[in-house]
């Protein structure tokens, strides 16, 4: 049986751990609310750009653009959004498992796919497994600005325009609520499902200078905004997931401290009982 001192040490260290997990829980909670705000602030932009793109693409006037056309897929790029740090429960592992499985299932040769990663965990995962990483970004802030990832998104979209990749699929954790996030797969490029979400007020626009030039500007921007949206969504999920993980860690620490305290008290009582019986038997021997 563990000695009194051992148990006391374990209680002490568990308490320390609990303090840390509790602090991380609080930090994640406040970051989560900021991340939610960011995601809300992004909505007007994405809604508007989607509306305009849909109304142009859906206007039927032979709107042709390479980004709208499906072409033969020779190379698929997977844009995988993970976090930089761990301690976020199943946040990273579930998404990486899903991506890995998808790649194994769909592709037989390494030339057919590549990944683009946001977040250190994802990058390390794919590098270790010798999966080609086309582009990467690490060290994103918890409240990313569009400017922070603009380079990455525009380079990614450029890869598609240059036909280095023929398909872009994004994997991220979609934020449903503070306790539930879902790994989501979304096909970003080519943009095929535009006309479906064309809204009712399909006003006819004048185009200055012309439709083609507008699409040239608009579609890359639209694709970039989709990536940014996924990133914001994923950030919210990350904080939510870390918050839940830290909450349960704190609860577990509480349980453990409870058990250990009980054990400690029993051991203490046993020691006292033993001491008394020794004294009593010592006294009895004297008589």
């Amino acid at each position: 049986m563990a000695s009194l001192r051992d148990i006391q040490n374990r209680i002490g260290s568990t308490k320390k751990t609990k303090q840390i997990t509790k602090a991380m829980h609080m930090v994640s909670a406040s970051k989560l609310s900021r991340a939610e705000e960011n995601a809300t602030a992004f909505v007007p932009y994405s809604a508007k750009i989607q509306e305009v793109v849909a109304s142009i693409a859906g206007s039927g006037q032979d709107a042709e653009h390479p980004m709208l056309q499906e072409r033969k897929v020779k190379k698929t790029a997977y844009f995988v959004i993970t976090s930089d740090r761990g301690l976020a429960g199943a946040f990273n592992s579930s998404i990486l498992r899903e991506v890995y499985r998808t790649i194994e299932k769909r592709h037989s040769s390494k030339d057919e796919y590549a990944v683009i990663t946001a977040g250190r965990v994802g990058r390390d995962f794919f590098k270790k497994r010798d999966i080609p990483v086309l582009k990467e970004i690490v060290g994103l802030s918890d409240q990313p600005n569009f400017a922070d990832i603009k380079d990455l998104t525009s380079e990614t979209v450029q890869l598609y325009i240059d036909e280095e990749i023929d398909e872009l699929i994004v994997f991220y954790n979609h934020y449903i609520s503070a306790i539930s996030q879902e790994v989501t797969e979304k096909k970003l490029l080519p943009l095929t499902d535009l006309s479906e979400n064309a809204s009712g007020n399909n006003s006819m626009y004048e185009y200055e200078p012309n439709q083609q030039d507008i699409l040239d500007v608009l579609l890359p921007q639209y694709a970039e905004s989709l990536i940014f949206g996924a990133l914001l969504d994923s950030k919210a999920s990350e904080h939510a997931s870390r918050m839940t993980a830290m909450k349960s860690a704190t609860d577990n620490a509480d349980d453990l401290i409870g058990d250990l305290t009980l054990q400690y008290n029993r051991a203490r009582q046993a020691a006292i009982t033993q001491e008394i019986s020794e004294i009593v038997s010592g006294a009895a021997a004297q008589e």
Partner: protein, 133 residues
């Protein structure tokens, strides 16, 4: 005066929403002036200043954006848009110097174009700030 509601939105959130009498901006095909009741129009904007005229005139530095006009509403969607008071002058100056240095160095074409855009953005920001003063 008739007015038109103008809203400026970026991926980082809305920048401004107010009514103005006229919107004057620089599209890729040239200067555009939009008055209330304009027919629906979409036009890409250059890296430039958008001038909003009315009781409370405003000037906004936009980059990578476009303009959507409806008779009663003008929306400017830009990857970045800043009011003069929100522009970080120090940062813009640094960006200008950096871009100038890169342009001097003349590396490959992609770097060159990037530096050119960076320079344009920096100059645009500085212009908008200075005009205000």
């Amino acid at each position: 005066m008739k007015t038109v509601t103008v809203s400026v939105v970026t991926p980082d959130g809305p920048v401004l929403e107010d009514s103005f009498e006229m919107v004057s901006c620089k599209a890729e095909s040239g200067e555009l002036g939009i008055l209330p009741g304009h027919i629906p129009l979409v036009a890409p904007l250059t890296i430039s200043a958008v001038r909003l005229k009315g009781e409370r005139p405003q000037r906004i530095a936009v980059s990578g954006g476009f303009l959507e006009v409806r008779p009663d509403k003008v929306t400017i969607l830009a990857q970045s848009a800043e009011k003069p008071e929100n522009i970080d002058v120090e940062r813009a100056r640094k960006a200008r110097e950096r871009a100038e240095r890169r342009l001097q160095a003349k590396k490959d074409e992609i770097d060159f174009r990037r530096a050119e855009f960076a320079l344009k953005r920096a100059l645009n920001r500085l212009d908008v700030v200075e005009e205000k003063r």
